[in-house]
């Protein structure tokens, strides 16, 4: 049965959180035993996860800088999770001190933590909202206040859409967000895949599935389709480590099990 709209989302700390597991993979301690237990289970079947997460993180850093270099100073990071070290506002601020960031997540703990971190930062704000209701995000007070509608915006959907099944029409959601962006904005996106690499991910998927956040692997073509209405910059939608790397990487790029891309809205 559909939840009545007036019933608030509860907090269940006995269930692992995707955001806190991510923090654990990155070496953080913003997590509880239940998160670590789930993460350890995932690691058993997919020991590359921390490496993958770091590569995803590294792509995000490169992409944010690329966006700043392209003249974009406003960031809408949906699915921001626990903003630990190397988060968007730090990276962006390092390149452009006047950069503004809105973090969006639906995890109430992640939101509370983000609020604590950016409490004194008037260039950053935090919004609890659901990607599945893009109009709630676009129309939110936080976005209206911080994002200048005339200036380009970097829409960030990093490691997020692989938690959205086709039944929720993720392409329509991205399109709705895209339409709200002014020209010159960009989409920064990463997505899990099992293309090009032996699939260890079934069990991994099970872990997330049991958490209520099933992991959906998509092909390169499918990921590319999220960029509908964007011009994908070189080198296109590629494995994380192949996207404008800073340094040579000897690792098999497919091992990162994820595609990354950067699209510009004309």
């Amino acid at each position: 049965m559909e939840r009545p709209v007036w019933a608030p989302h509860g907090i269940d700390l006995t269930r692992p959180s995707v955001a806190r597991m991510y923090d654990y993979y990155l070496g953080g301690s913003h997590n509880f035993e239940v998160d670590r237990a789930a993460a350890r289970t995932a690691l058993e079947v997919w020991p590359d996860l921390p490496m993958i997460m770091r590569a995803n993180r590294a792509f995000m850093r490169r992409a944010v800088r690329f966006a700043v270099d392209s003249g974009i100073k406003q960031f809408l990071d949906i699915g921001s999770g626990i903003p630990t070290f190397g988060n968007v506002h730090e990276v962006a601020r390092a390149a452009a001190p006047d950069a503004r960031v809105v973090y969006v997540d639906h995890d109430p703990v992640a939101i509370a933590h983000s609020e604590a971190i950016v409490a004194d930062d008037d260039q950053t704000s935090v919004l609890q909202a659901d990607l599945l209701k893009p109009d709630d995000i676009i129309g939110s007070e936080a976005v209206q206040r911080l994002i200048d509608g005339g200036e380009p915006v970097a829409l960030m959907l990093v490691a997020l859409l692989h938690f959205v099944g086709d039944q929720d029409s993720p392409r329509d959601i991205v399109a709705r967000l895209r339409d709200a962006l002014p020209p010159g904005s960009c989409l920064i996106l990463t997505h899990a895949t099992n293309e090009g690499y032996a699939d260890p991910a079934d069990e991994e998927r099970d872990v997330y599935k049991r958490m209520g956040s099933p992991l959906i692997m998509r092909t390169r073509q499918e990921v590319l389709s999220f960029f509908d209405g964007f011009e994908v910059v070189d080198p296109g939608v590629v494995f994380y480590s192949q996207w404008r790397p800073d340094a040579a990487d000897e690792e098999d790029p497919a091992r990162y099990s994820g595609y990354a891309g950067f699209g510009l809205k004309r």
Binding site: P8, S29, R61, V109, A112, H113
Partner: protein
């Protein structure tokens, strides 16, 4: 990955050994950053990391060069690693390896320090670095744990506040709702109800919390309400909706518009049921009252025509074609007389009394008596228990009126005629059934009333034909389907054609030519006899005038029948005068024939009219004399010229060899003698044989009519007979 890159780095470091000291520092930082980079999750690129490590490398080198040797700053450098987000234990391990292998190589210690002492300093530096890293990591871990705990508490508090606000809103909604709301578990135990619901039942909220949904049955519950309730609590349906009555605390009924919904948990397992009800008692009562008014007769309180047809339709629509139905169509006998003589108020009271008696005859819920209107009632029996049930009911209706009804101290005797019909729903349609019972009723009426007639298909068919003729009559007159034939009246003395009786015929498009016996009575009933009669009169007068113009002296007079209604029609005299004028016929050439029944009960006014007609010179004949009361007083009161003796007296005289019925002959003789005494002429009808003609002549009847002389025929037959002269029928007798 965990190994320090070999050869080239060492070689290159060795080569630059003689170069600037800072070059060695830079090389060390490059190796260090490369080795730990895979284990960091910083926002720095590797080049940035290298830049970040450069000052740390300088400080490490400075510690080795410090005099006196002070290892404490190494702790800060270990801390700095953690602060730079290099928290993975592998960072510590790799860093110690790099320090151990390369720091002395790229920053050789002072010459004064023996190599063993330098190694010792390096070891102590590593210990301090490791301690600093561990301390910082512990601090950071605790701080982050603290932060996330705070965050979750904050989130929880916020969620609870939201939940509380939401519950408060819900509570307000529940308490303040204008509709009654009740929540119960799946066993039907009521958990909570709101004030509105309690008020609706006239009780207090607490009283409901000990009760069970199953206690709220009501005899007027819709048939499926509890079935759907069971389906709901089994999880087979999510809601149901009914108009449902409840007993209030004082025992009266509250009618509600009830909606019950099933509440499931996140897994879809049924948890609670929520009932929402709106008090529709007033609306329901109003609707019921309006419906009652629409389906009941306000005078007698019986069901009305609409209710009867509704029940009949239900019986026909029940889907079971073998359903047997019984119908009694009832009509009070002589009710109009009561209404006319005692007034409508008495009539109404009589109807109320009769309705009560009829209601008392009902014996089962499958029986209904309704008032169709006026003094007509109908009784419907759905699925009679036995073949006798319907007839038994009809007999009880008849018997119910045995005792007179007392109205205003007056005892009124009233009887009823009943048409009874039984059939299956499959055998006829509802409207047919009612019509058939109605027609059957008229058979009971025609047989004198106060009786029961049972449906008979053949009798009904005849009645339907009759009815068909009746409805066709007006159009027939309009479209000229009537025509006249003429039968001569012959003088028995000399055989002359004295006159001709005009006889009306109907050339029916389907049934051919019909005689007056088929339709005159119908025309009398419907009143059409008046225009038809005038049409006949006008045609006949016109014909008589035509004969006069054609035959001059020998032209016959014309006899035209005047019906009962015509005779009493106030415009009679004027109309006859007008017709005579229009057809230019002199009054003495017209004889009007009236029957005795036209005179019975006639007002003086009507008798005056007849006198006026004879004053005008019109002859008057009393038709069918001897069959009615033969009340001679009329002969005194009106100026009759001729008696027409009915054919029934003549038919007895038909055997040429037998002398006939001596009594008939004596009656005729008596009548003739009476007539002659009163100075009246006599015409005999139905003369079919020469013998009969002889006898009548012998009795000195003036004129005769019958097949012996001529059958009725077209006007030119009369012309021909008149022209032919008088000798053809009298030849024998006169000779």
């Amino acid at each position: 990955m965990s190994q320090v890159p070999p050869g080239p780095w060492a070689a290159s470091a060795a080569r630059t050994d003689d170069g600037s000291a800072d070059d060695g520092i830079r090389r060390f930082a490059a190796i260090w950053s490369r080795v730990i980079d895979p284990y960091t999750a910083t926002s720095m690129t590797r080049a940035e990391l290298e830049e970040h490590l450069l000052p740390l490398t300088r400080r490490l080198a400075a510690i080795l060069e410090s005099v006196p040797f002070d290892v404490r700053p190494a702790k800060d450098i270990g801390r700095a690693m953690v602060q730079a987000h290099c928290t993975d234990p592998q960072v510590l391990s790799q860093s110690l390896t790099v320090i151990d292998a390369y720091l002395l190589l790229y920053r050789p210690p002072a010459e004064s320090l023996p190599p063993e002492a330098a190694r010792g300093h390096l070891a102590r530096l590593q210990h301090a670095f490791a301690a600093g890293f561990a301390e910082a990591l512990r601090d950071r871990t605790l701080a982050e744990q603290e932060a996330i705990a705070h965050a979750s508490l904050a989130a929880q508090a916020r969620a609870e506040r939201a939940l509380h606000a939401s519950e408060a809103r819900f509570r307000a909604l529940f308490e303040g709702a204008a509709i009654g709301i009740g929540i119960s578990d799946l066993e039907g135990n009521i958990l909570d109800v709101n004030e509105t619901l309690a008020r609706m039942f006239g009780g207090r909220v607490e009283e409901f919390r000990t009760r069970n949904v199953n206690e709220f049955m009501h005899p007027d519950d819709a048939p499926h309400v509890w079935k759907q309730y069971r389906e709901l609590i089994r999880g087979e349906r999510d809601h149901y909706r009914f108009e449902k009555p409840y007993f209030t605390h004082n025992g009266s009924a509250v009618w509600t518009n009830l909606t019950v919904s099933l509440i499931r948990d996140q897994n879809g397992t049924p948890q609670y049921q929520v009932a929402m009800m709106e008090d529709i008692t007033e609306r329901k009562l109003l609707t019921d009252r309006l419906r009652y008014q629409a389906t009941h007769d306000p005078l007698t309180g019986l069901g009305n025509r609409a209710l009867f047809f509704e029940r009949l339709a239900e019986a026909f629509d029940s889907g079971d074609e073998s359903t047997r139905l019984g119908l009694c169509y009832l009509d009070l006998d002589g009710f109009k007389a009561v209404n006319d003589s005692l007034g409508h108020e008495a009539g109404d009271r009589l109807l109320v009394a009769v309705a009560e008696r009829f209601t008392g005859c009902l014996t089962g819920r499958n029986q209904l008596v309704a008032r169709m209107g006026g003094d007509e009632f109908v009784a419907l029996v759905v699925d009679p228990d036995c073949p006798e049930e319907v007839a038994g009911l009809a007999r009880r209706f008849l018997a119910a009126l045995d005792a007179p009804v007392r109205i205003d101290g007056r005892e009124l005797s009233v009887t009823v005629s009943i048409g009874l019909l039984e059939c299956t729903a499959a055998s006829m349609k509802a409207a047919q059934m009612v019509q058939a019972a109605d027609i059957t009723l008229y058979r009971a009426k025609a047989q004198g009333g106060n009786r029961l007639a049972v449906f008979d298909a053949e009798a009904n068919a005849r009645e339907i034909t009759r009815y068909g003729l009746t409805t066709r009559l007006p159009a027939a007159l309009e479209e000229g389907e009537f025509f006249l034939e003429y039968q001569p009246l012959v003088a028995l003395g000399d055989g002359r054609v004295m006159g001709a009786e005009a006889l009306v015929r109907w050339r029916h498009p389907q049934q051919g030519v019909l005689g007056p016996d088929r339709f005159v009575a119908l025309a009398e009933q419907t009143g059409l006899i008046v225009p038809l009669g005038y049409w006949v009169l006008e045609q006949a007068c016109r014909q008589a005038r035509a004969w006069q113009l054609e035959l001059e002296q020998g032209a016959p007079r014309i006899n035209v029948n005047l019906s009962v209604r015509q005779a009493r029609n106030p415009g009679l005299v004027n109309d006859v005068a007008r017709i005579l004028k229009e057809t230019e016929l002199d009054a003495s050439s017209l004889h009007l024939e009236i029957t005795e029944s036209a005179l019975i009960g006639a007002e003086d006014q009507a008798l005056d009219a007849l006198r006026e007609l004879t004053d005008m010179g019109i002859g008057l004949a009393l038709d069918d004399f001897g069959t009615g009361y033969s009340n001679l007083s009329y002969l005194r009161r009106i100026p009759v010229h001729t008696l027409k003796i009915d054919r029934s007296f003549i038919s007895g005289l038909q055997h040429p060899d037998a002398p006939g019925n001596p009594r008939d002959e004596k009656i005729v003789a008596g009548l003739v003698s009476l007539a002659h005494t009163l100075d009246l002429a006599v015409t005999v009808e139905g003369v079919e044989t020469e013998l009969q003609a002889e006898r009548m002549r012998a009795l000195q009847c003036e004129t005769a009519q019958g097949w012996y002389f001529a059958r009725p025929g077209p006007p030119d037959r009369i012309t021909a007979l008149c022209a032919a002269g008088a000798d053809r029928w009298t030849g024998g007798a006169c000779a």
